[in-house]
């Protein structure tokens, strides 16, 4: 069954939250210069999060995206209260929550491993938080939410007999049941197979739109972040590399890391040298020349050129000339791995469906100037 199909079409479109009476208003979440340092005797101190700032608007869906160990989960856990905060402030609305225990912060958390309570059935799992606080009418609330999420038939089952997709939905329901103004989800699609992932992703997005919770999703999957989020914070080494909309991230990466991390097949990165000839800026790559976007770095500057495989255009007169090493026909498109003289890296060029290349073929390709990105060879910062 698909929740997506049952949600009225009106739910789409804008981020106008529809909420029933008595629902908690979504609230802004502010992270102000938050740091997390792990220090234990006998081991080196480790700074997992290095001074993080984020202003998240009410009802917004944010992703924290990055490789493992980048500090994204630590950040989420600090917001949830499962990790102490070394310094800085976290505010929900206007309220500083640094020193509140997790149970008092009024956040809903969806754990990566679902963290359902194994001895309890689904109904008891959902009611757990309500009953622990002696909330009246817990049963009714559980039934109500279960009906809305179409999981009434799961209520009497125990976690072990649920499929991972069902577990995922129960975990989400448990996070939602107290109607927290802020929802935190750690790798919510991590354990699902490709097909289920797609469906649940859509459900999640529509659900978030409908309920309107301020939501933070932690993920290492760039595709998931791009498709799900209003805005994405790309993290690496405990630092936010770029915080922006999916479009900004993909089309206008702030540095080499973001460009490299976002996009599949991965961006081609190779060294080049800037040539300024009057007003004309070109980049020398191997024996060939590329025309970059309207960036104006100094003459002779060593740069790293970034060029996404799907942005590559073949069958051009001028551009990078190389020889096809391997060609993979994926039917929707093809991928040619190309060796360009003077460039150590093997470059990947996406070719349109129907084209066939074979090893040894000569190939000339380039990308539209606005899709040729230049990064500082030392710092990796984008040169504009």
């Amino acid at each position: 069954m698909s929740t997506a199909a049952t949600i009225p079409a009106g739910a789409g479109g804008h981020a106008t939250p529809r909420r029933g009476a008595g629902r908690t208003e979504p609230q802004a979440l502010t992270i102000r210069n938050v740091r997390k340092v792990y220090a234990s005797r006998g081991r080196e101190t480790f700074e997992a999060v290095k001074g993080m700032d984020m202003n998240i608007r009410p009802g917004e869906l944010i992703s924290l995206l990055g490789p493992s160990g980048c500090g994204k989960t630590t950040t989420l856990r600090m917001i949830a209260g499962l990790e102490t905060i070394t310094s800085g402030d976290i505010l929900i609305g206007d309220r500083r929550i640094n020193d509140l225990p997790p149970g008092k912060r009024n956040v809903g958390v969806g754990f990566e491993s679902y963290a359902l309570y194994p001895p309890l059935n689904v109904r008891e799992n959902l009611a757990y938080g309500l009953k622990a606080r002696k909330v009246a009418g817990a049963e009714a609330q559980v039934d109500d939410l279960a009906r809305r999420l179409e999981m009434t038939e799961l209520l009497d089952l125990r976690p072990a007999s649920l499929s991972s997709g069902q577990k995922q939905r129960v975990a989400l329901a448990r996070a939602l049941i107290r109607q927290p103004p802020v929802l935190l989800l750690d790798e919510p699609l991590g354990h699902l197979d490709a097909s289920a992932r797609q469906r649940v992703r859509r459900e999640l997005k529509l659900l978030q739109r409908e309920f309107g919770y301020t939501t933070i999703v932690v993920t290492h999957d760039q595709l998931e972040a791009l498709s799900l989020s209003d805005r994405i914070a790309v993290m690496n080494g405990g630092i936010i590399q770029q915080f922006g909309t999916p479009d900004e991230l993909f089309d206008d990466p702030a540095n080499q890391f973001v460009a490299d991390f976002v996009g599949e097949p991965g961006i081609n990165l190779f060294p080049g040298v800037v040539r300024r000839d009057g007003g004309r800026v070109t980049v020398r790559v191997g024996d060939d020349t590329l025309v970059p976007a309207a960036s104006t770095p100094a003459d002779g500057r060593k740069v790293v050129v970034g060029m996404r495989p799907p942005d590559c255009v073949t069958g051009v007169e001028r551009g990078l000339r190389g020889e096809v090493a391997v060609f993979e026909d994926l039917l929707e498109y093809g991928l040619a791995t190309v060796v360009v003289p003077g460039v150590d890296e093997r470059l990947v060029v996406q070719t349109p469906s129907g084209q066939a290349w074979s090893g040894g073929d000569a190939l000339t390709f380039t990308a539209p100037p606005e899709r040729v990105y230049l990064f500082d060879a030392e710092t990796g910062d984008r040169l504009r």
Binding site: Y38, A39, S40, L82, T84, P101
Partner: protein, 288 residues
Amino acid sequence: MATELKPGQKRLTPGAIFADIAIVAWFVFALFPILWMLLLALKNDAQQTSTYFAFSPTLENFGTVLSQRGTDLTSVDFKSAILMSILNCGGAVLVSLLIGIPAAYAAGRYRFKGSEDLMFNMLSFRFAPELMVIVPLFVIYTQIGLFDTVFGMIWVLQLVTMPLIVWILRSYFEDMPEDLEQAALLDGYTRRKAFTMVALPLVRPGIAAAALLSFIFAWNNYVFPLILSDTAASTVTVAITKFLGGGGQAYYNLTAAAALIGALPPLVLALTIQRYLVQGLSFGAVKG
């Protein structure tokens, strides 16, 4: 700062002090007898019946216990008992390893008819009342001359060592991915070579742990040597009880010294294999 929260651990620990006091109270109870044994073992003959903690310590008792003088005083040949314990238990463990490793491997690797029966039989040894077996064995042993022999003890100690070794090692073999041996087969090695080259090195810690633990249990066993041996193959545990049970004067300090010596090997071994203890103690029912 410690930030990892373990299951059940509370962020705020209002009862922390009370909890610490409770822990300390338990350990006073748990460690006092051991401490007292140590103190008593260090007292000389004149002080042995005093209950004071202050005295002039002496190491003499240990020497006495292990020497002919001790044997004369208490009519217990403690040195021979130690030797016998080592022979009996060491032998029993060796035999159990030789026989148990293949069986554990078979039970852990293959699902064959009767494997569960074999394993259950092994486990039932652990829980069977020893005397059920010992009474007939006593009769048999006296008839065929195994009574009071090392060989007889090794045989009967299989009841202690074998189930432990087979059960622990089975869970090790079960946990070891089959793929490793299969990879060796495809690399071109025979099954026996794959076992010795791949499987055996991987379970070596398990073998060590199982061997040591079963040695401890064999060492600590009392009923078997009590009934199936007399003087020639009698062990440390039987010897210690004789210190107090003898008709003559009781030497408390010598008893404590002997007890300390007898308790030392298990304590030392236990501390070295602490990591594997849980699995061994529970026959693999609880993984440590």
